[in-house]
């Protein structure tokens, strides 16, 4: 039994939990942070942090299939979702092989990482803000729901998130498109600066842009112009000499979070690796952001956790939260039960309870929903677990017949086609963003290893083989259509006492499907790429396999396969009323005055941005509200 009473108990040390812990401890609050992952992962001192991370890196090198979770330990007592478990679901037969119990009809295709630092260890680092219309989908297009606030309301918190993550970007590129196609002014604003200059767009981007920029695409009788935008990213680049912010702090007078202005002599200094502040200050072009940046030039949440006031922070690892204890009279949360495992593989644990004034769930969209359902908490709206969303990602790949583009270099993506991120078509089908992928056919075909195998199987060897591979690898192009999944109450996380993990905690039971709104987007997205490839001189090599692809769907007689984007969103939506949402605009649960939820689960809709930046912005907003509540 835990005796100490903390100001705040936080569940999870991913980016949402780490931002919350950092802000609260630096504001003088006593915080307990519970992390389900192994103790080694939380190391922040130079020697141990380096040692643990080199262990991840070697595991990555040695792993034959380099999926996002491949470098990191998968703990039997606190398992992570593994995309290698994905397969088609036979009707009426749930797939129980992996951690998720997949009820179907199609499987949920994304993973996340249960471990210190969370999924930021393997995120790509794309930091696009959402678009103004993304916050009012119902009002503008009659689809989904509206957020309880607007883009402009979130803007100050986006700036905090971009500071915290350390975003390298080209403001002008994005604003040109937003102003031109969407008629939106002041998207970033004239005074705004990113901490760092843009990550240089790849050689391939330049070749493809010269072939496609401004070309016309006709979809469903409507003409669209291809417009590309440089992608802002959470990885270290050249410091922006105009950037003038040094930190974020709580102002107890104004009761707000505010920026600390930099001394005019100080230049922005990129945040290096956890083990050495002077390494990782620039992206070095390892081209392995997913699953692991060897030098930590890419942001991860441990960098934020390191900045916490450790005099006010207690961290307990190997501590798996299983249940919130609810006071039956006040309906306040009065404790969180957690199971501390010793070995990680034998199911042996000690049951403990942590107590605090306020509780914050920051355990990922799926785990947050699962813990709430297991506790009978926060669910008077019946929305907990519902509206599970992801970017359903349809991949198209081909060979550039005109010239070699030299892929497999640089960060995963440095440019995106923004044209279909917003427009009237959203009334009919989902919007999508199309990142130009710098890593050839690695994702859909495991290239270049598969190219070697195919060529050698055909009997190629020697100079003929080398020159075949040179040509095959250097012409590979991959374009995604990352389609915004609309909220669907039947896509959901549930629990079932028949499915428990070996600590006796619930396993997430997932129900998932693609509605016609999504299928229409797959059809349009493929039509878009077909026209695009045609104009750019790219020969289409895309194949969707009806037998093998886990998420193979058909629409109007044609088949499409989609992949998960790792963007797990929407299981405890934020809203204006307690009848139709789980949390209010400050991410406090409607049902329990001392329970806050942070993370992507709060997002009512997804937009076409990778969600981490928006989630980080929301977390600053939540942290501000928590401090207000503690000080009132």
């Amino acid at each position: 039994m835990e005796i100490k009473n903390y100001d705040v108990v936080i569940i999870g040390s991913g980016i949402a939990g780490s931002i919350t812990a950092n802000i609260l401890t630096n504001a003088g609050k006593k915080v307990l942070l519970l992390e389900a992952g192994l103790n080694a992962g939380i190391a922040l001192d130079a020697e141990n942090a380096y040692k643990t991370y080199q262990g991840y890196l070697n595991t990555f090198y040695e792993n034959s299939i380099k999926v996002p979770n491949s470098p990191y330990p998968n703990i039997e007592d606190a398992p992570s979702i593994d995309v290698l478990d994905l397969k088609q679901i036979e009707p009426g037969k749930p797939d129980t092989k992996g951690y998720l119990v997949q009820m179907g009809p199609i499987p949920f295709a994304s993973d996340c990482l249960r471990g210190a630092g969370g999924t930021t260890l393997h995120w790509l680092g794309t930091t696009l803000r959402m678009l103004p219309n993304d916050f009012k989908m119902k009002k503008t297009y009659g689809i989904g729901v509206d957020w309880p606030f607007s883009y402009n309301d979130l803007k100050p918190y986006y700036e905090m998130a971009e500071h915290e993550i350390g975003v390298a970007g080209n403001k002008e590129s994005m604003e040109k498109w937003v102003k031109g196609q969407l008629k939106v002014d002041n998207y970033y604003g004239s005074k705004y600066q990113f901490p760092m200059e843009e990550i240089p767009p790849s050689y391939m981007d330049k070749v493809l842009i010269s072939e496609m920029e401004g070309k016309e695409i006709v979809l469903n009788g409507v003409s669209h112009k291809i417009e590309t935008v440089t992608t802002p990213q959470g990885r270290n680049s050249t410091p922006n000499s105009k950037y003038s912010k040094a930190g974020i702090r709580w102002n107890p007078g104004s009761k707000k979070l505010e920026f600390i202005d930099a001394d005019f002599r100080d230049k922005y200094e990129p945040v290096g690796s956890v083990w050495d502040p002077y390494s990782g200050q620039r992206c070095e072009g390892n081209a392995s952001c997913v699953p692991i940046c060897p030098v930590q030039a890419k942001y991860n949440a441990l960098k934020t956790l390191k900045k916490a006031d450790h005099g006010n922070l207690t961290i307990k690892t190997q501590a798996v939260a299983s249940k919130l204890i609810i006071n039956s009279i006040s309906n306040w949360i009065e404790g969180v039960e957690y199971k501390t495992y010793q070995e990680g593989h034998n199911g042996k644990y000690d049951l403990q309870t942590a107590k605090g004034t306020i509780y914050v769930l920051a355990a990922s969209a799926i785990e947050n929903a699962k813990i709430l359902l297991a506790s009978g908490a926060a669910n008077s709206s019946d929305q907990v677990g519902r509206n599970l969303m992801d970017h359903m990602t349809v991949l198209s790949w081909g060979l550039n017949k005109k010239e070699r583009v030299y892929p497999f270099r640089g960060p995963g993506s440095t440019t995106n086609i923004a044209t279909f991120r917003d427009g009237d078509f959203r009334k009919e089908h989902a919007a999508w963003i199309s990142p130009l992928d710098n890593w050839g056919w690695g994702w859909p075909a495991f290239s270049p290893g598969s190219d070697v195998n195919d060529a050698v199987t055909q009997g190629m060897f020697g100079k003929e083989l080398r020159s075949f591979l040179e040509d095959r690898i250097t012409r590979q192009v991959l374009v995604h259509a990352e389609c915004e999944q609309a909220p669907d109450p039947e896509c959901r996380v549930t629990i079932d006492p028949a499915y428990l993990d070996q600590l006796g905690n619930y396993r997430p039971v997932i129900h998932y499907r693609a509605t016609e709104y999504m299928l229409k987007a797959f059809e349009a997205g493929r039509e878009f790429v077909t026209q695009l490839f045609d104009k750019a001189g790219i020969e289409d090599y895309t194949v969707y396999n009806p037998e093998k692809d886990a998420d193979y769907v058909t629409y109007k007689g044609k088949g499409y396969s989609f992949e998960g984007a790792g963007h797990i969103v929407g299981t405890h939506r934020m809203g204006k009323t307690k009848e139709d949402s789980v949390v209010n605009e400050n991410m406090r649960t409607w049902d329990h005055d001392n329970l806050f939820l942070v993370g992507c689960g709060n997002m009512p809709t997804l937009g076409t941005s990778n969600p981490t930046l928006t989630m980080a912005a929301l977390t600053f907003k939540a942290a501000e509200a928590i401090l207000n509540q503690l000080e009132n």
Binding site: L57, N58, F60, Y61, E62, N63, S64, K66, P200, P201, S202, Y203, K206, S237, R282, C283, E284, G285, N286, A287, S288, I292, P294, V295, Y406, P407, F408, R409, G410, P411, T414, N438, W439, G440, G442, P448, G449, D451, V452, N453, V456, T457, G459, F461, G462, K463, E464, L465, R466, S467, L469, E470, I473, T474
Partner: protein, 156 residues
Amino acid sequence: MSNPDASPPQFLKISSLLTGFTETELIGTGMLDSYLNTILKNSAKEDVKYFFENAKEILDEPNQTEESIAISTRKQLMPDSSYGGLAKKIIILWYTGSWKVNENSSKIISPASYKQGLMWDAGHTHPPGAKQPGFGSWAKLPISVMINDKSKTNGN
């Protein structure tokens, strides 16, 4: 193991023939001994013996031309029915750093073998997560392309 034909210098020669990479490039990976050991450890002794004997014959052929060597290699070494498919396994080992256990499974020998996979060099790039070419290098043509094409020295 006392097989004079399966010596590191012989293995180097036959590897160069099979991969299309020069002996200098192959030595530069630092993987020669490790790969030879992998082959000796994982293949039937008889396959190894006759494979290296056959390889020596091809390499020592009198009046040889590049073409005649290629024809002999294709006919005698490359078929799946020759020496347990060892030639193909050697090529895949050098190119990917993996030993092909069977049709559906292969294993990366070591972190070093992953980093030294020749497929990355063949594609004018580097293995993800290692041999990083430096900040912003991806915005230009690969250096290995630039030095072979002086007209593109600016890399644009």
